[in-house]
Symmetry: C2
Subunit: 141 residues, 2 copies
């Protein structure tokens, strides 16, 4: 019978803060529901992975490819000043990679976004537009 | 004649905050001179690279390999609770990857380290010991 140790599932706290936008070869791609910054998250569908060195070499390569892909798309779509990429996981241990579009003058600039400002949920139409703009550029499975 | 556009050199602000510990295939490895957290930085020796998607595919793979290598060594050496990995670059644009050993109860836990506490320079003996512990586990060029 499947359980948390044999079947991958998205951490509940990540699920509560995000919307799924699609599946890549290794990872599930999410949008953080925070209109302060265009913010994607990649979560490798690997049971028990916490640190990047928990992934085997091929999965590490896939994670880098998927991170670079989404980072480039996010930069193109938002025309932001800088992309921030991070795997932190001090609160939610499940390995996940933040990919955040940063702009001079955004609520945290130039500091990192984590803990800087309370999340501001998107209006539905704005969220739909943002997700559509990403989906237009990425071949999700 | 070499100049800043054709020859790689370490950003001056990074150089001022760190000590070089060695060279890997792609990156220069640094120790942040902040005794609050065991903290390494990888800087790919690629002129003009700012975002990870500025690297070609092979360099992206090398950067992932080197990041995972140092992250694993840092975890082993420090027996920390979590490794934080990030490429932020809002202040220093030169592409660099932070690899930070985090422990419950450290000065920023569970928040990220950037901007959390003023850097506390190492005593020389402690810095030497930390660098030696990393060099003992990594084949630097």
């Amino acid at each position: 019978m499947p359980n948390s140790e044999t079947t991958w599932s998205l951490d509940r706290r990540l699920a509560g803060d995000t919307v799924v936008i699609g599946e890549l070869a290794l990872s599930q791609a999410l949008v953080m529901n925070d209109a302060n910054y265009p913010w994607l998250i990649l979560v490798p569908r690997v049971v028990g992975a916490v640190e990047i060195f928990d992934l085997d070499d091929q999965d590490q390569t896939d994670l880098m490819n998927e991170t670079a892909l989404l980072a480039g798309v996010l930069k193109d779509v938002t025309r932001c000043d800088k992309i921030n990429v991070a795997a932190i996981g001090n609160v939610v241990a499940q390995l996940h990679v933040h990919i955040v579009a940063r702009r001079q003058g955004d609520p945290a600039w130039p500091k990192p976004v984590w803990g800087a400002a309370p999340a501001t949920p998107y209006a539905q139409a704005a969220l739909d537009r943002f997700i559509a703009s990403i989906r237009a550029e990425v071949a999700f499975g």
